[in-house]
Amino acid sequence: MLSNIGNFLLFLNILLSCLAIYFSVSCLKTTNDLVLKKIYQTSLLQCTTILISFFTLVAAFIISDFSVINVYENSHSQKPLFYKISGTWGNHEGSLLLWVIILTVFSYLFLILNKNHPKNYRLYTLVIQNLLILGFLIFILFNSNPFSFVSPLPNEGLGLNPILQDPALAIHPPLLYVGFVGSSIYFSAAMASMITNYSDKLFAKSIKTWVLISWSFQTLGILVGSIWAYYELGWGGFWFWDPVENASLLPWFAMTALLHSLLVLEKRNALYFWTIILCLLTFILSVTGTFLVRSGILNSVHTFANDPTRGIYILMYLSLMILASVYILFTRYKPASIEINSNSKETFVLVNNWFMMFYLITVLLGTLYPIFTDAMTNNKISVGPPFYNSVIIPVVVLFLFFMAIGPNVKWIKNKFINFKIYLLIFLAAVLLNFIIFSFFKSYSVISNLIVISSLFLIFSSIFDIFKKSSYNFPRVISHLSFGFLILFIGLNHNFSIEKDFNLKVGETKQIDNFKFYLKDLKLTQDTNYKTITGQLKVNDLFTKEERILKPEIRIYDNPKTLTYEASIQSNFLRDYYLSMSNIDRSEYYNIKFQKKPLMIWIWISVATLSLGGFLSLIRHAKYN
């Protein structure tokens, strides 16, 4: 029943999408500057029907309607309600539906919120966005249909992958999707802008809201994903340069660059084509990321099943998108006529963009290189953290200095007048850095540089608040947060302690100034899994701190899986992180222990970084 409703609604959506394109194209030919009412209606109807079809799927999950293959494969009647609901987008088909929802809702919102922009620009955006929607709808309906029917009716479902049963996961995909699927709307707008020659500052204004929304959500989405990997997957850190993490970071770099180049376009009417390229690039990278993780080329928790036909489809979609956008870009491209002074804000924004492109290319190369070598030479290699750390970290030092100075540079032509102040700030940063390092008695050139440059950025951002009467508060928040983020990462990285050893019940082990005692193991039965909980006493002989940590090994029934839940004790100064895994045919357990300073501040910095984006959104809405 629900399966039929869902399928009908998907068909209806394809029809509505075609109608929206048809109406828009016929409205393009009219001479008056009004968008026809029926276009608004069609677009609104699209939103409504796609949302209803989504809720139909949610309903199927809630009532455990196993006649829907998607529910059968990803749910179980014994599962808590919360995870039944979040299971809707915890699988390939359901998450694609979420994709289309965001494409559709953004399409409608863009149409109604940009009424003061030219008709043809809005209509072309709508047409292109609907082509994107259509592509995805066809993909869903004919390849990855969440409403496919299963017969005979199974009694029980197969259950949701246990690592996906986590509150962070319930919100991670929607946040990230608003981020990178949201970038579709300025992809469409950029295409429309080139087609209709709508290339001035007003174009920048029309997409700024959307860039801010997607950037802020993307930042939050990455944050939640990272927190999830830390607490749920027990990865033991905040970032691993895993190809899947990289896939979400690539569009973020492009978005960040775009956010800054938009400033130049808005103020100075320059860098138009560069901005366009960034608009196109952001969404292309988003789809590329989707392709890499969904096709099974990269193995990860996001690779729901290895199905090459999916890969082929997304690849075709991606190729068409790239070819169309490159074709339009090349036919419309005109070299810029405005000269940019080398000492001006424009240059500093460009410098930001170069840095972003550098990071982007580095991460892109690191992510794609193993795929290339495998396809061309049959060699399986992997690119790990040492590559990224050694290429990116030294460059970050330089970047932070530019980031500190950039915001205070004047448009068009700048003169450095506050040179002395920067020197003072720099000296203060160096001083504080040496205090920190002498206190902890550890030394490495690169971590010193990281700490100095991040302190320099922090101090100069704080200085901006006191110095200027009118300063851009959201900008200060974001730059300040970024400074803190790098500072905390640097300190965390430098002063983390990691121990790896085996222990059996009743045994005590002392390593350096830590004493570990495995007191007891407890077996408990939960609704859908059994748990072995270890009771580990950790003594820090240096600080005289004593903690009991309780790592878990969970044994799930449906599907039969083992997961390891790390025990993490956080406070504002440090995290104790302990995970335990069984060793086959042995009474010993493998223990991984880490003491990580300032962990929680890394999450807080990213959260405030994204807050800066939201504040900027409010500010932008107020002044426009």
């Binding site: 090459p308 991606l318 491209y333 794609l368």
Partner: protein, 172 residues
């Protein structure tokens, strides 16, 4: 100049998309089960105790060959060694031992202590040759016939059951 940049851009994009397409049909899960039933890849292994090289042709003279990957530092290899010793007494099969990422002196001591079941003894000190066989950990053993078809692949130490199965295959 502009046209050259355009051309290069298009070339790079097409290149990336082509690689993506080619990668789609490759399995990214590292699994060697599919090797059973296939022919053995071309081999060229250096002997441990001489300058001689072993190739596929050496194996074609035997009815059956078991290629066993081992090292002196590998504890499970010690456990399976007794079964290799039993198997080495069988006339119908020859064992090719590939000493994996090991020191020659340690390897020879290992054999002196536990006995030498190997008809051929080759070494792979870098571990690269073994990867070509589809090995991803040791011990592993590959059973081939005189046409170099892979009949069986045993991942981990040989046990009694494996031994029985191998004996059953080589009897027929």
């Amino acid at each position: 100049m502009q046209n050259i940049i355009k051309l290069i851009t298009v070339f790079i994009l097409v290149f990336i998309l082509t690689i993506f397409y080619l990668s789609l049909n490759r399995s990214s899960n590292y699994d060697t089960k599919f090797l059973v039933g296939n022919k053995l890849a071309d081999i060229e292994l250096k002997a441990l105790e001489s300058e001689k090289f072993f190739t596929n042709n050496d194996l074609k003279n035997n009815n059956y060959t078991l290629i066993n990957f081992w090292a002196s530092w590998c504890a499970p290899c010690r456990i399976e060694h007794q079964f290799l010793m039993i198997l080495s007494k069988n006339e119908n099969i020859k064992i090719l031992g590939v000493n994996f990422k090991d020191k020659k002196i340690n390897a020879l001591n290992f054999l002196e202590e536990l006995g030498d079941p190997y008809y051929y003894l080759a070494m792979d000190s870098s571990g690269k040759q073994s990867v070509n066989f589809g090995i991803y950990g040791i011990p592993e053993s590959i059973l081939v016939d005189n046409k170099l078809n892979i009949l069986k692949k045993i991942i981990g130490p040989l046990n009694e059951k494996d031994l029985e199965e191998i004996e059953k295959i080589i009897k027929s």
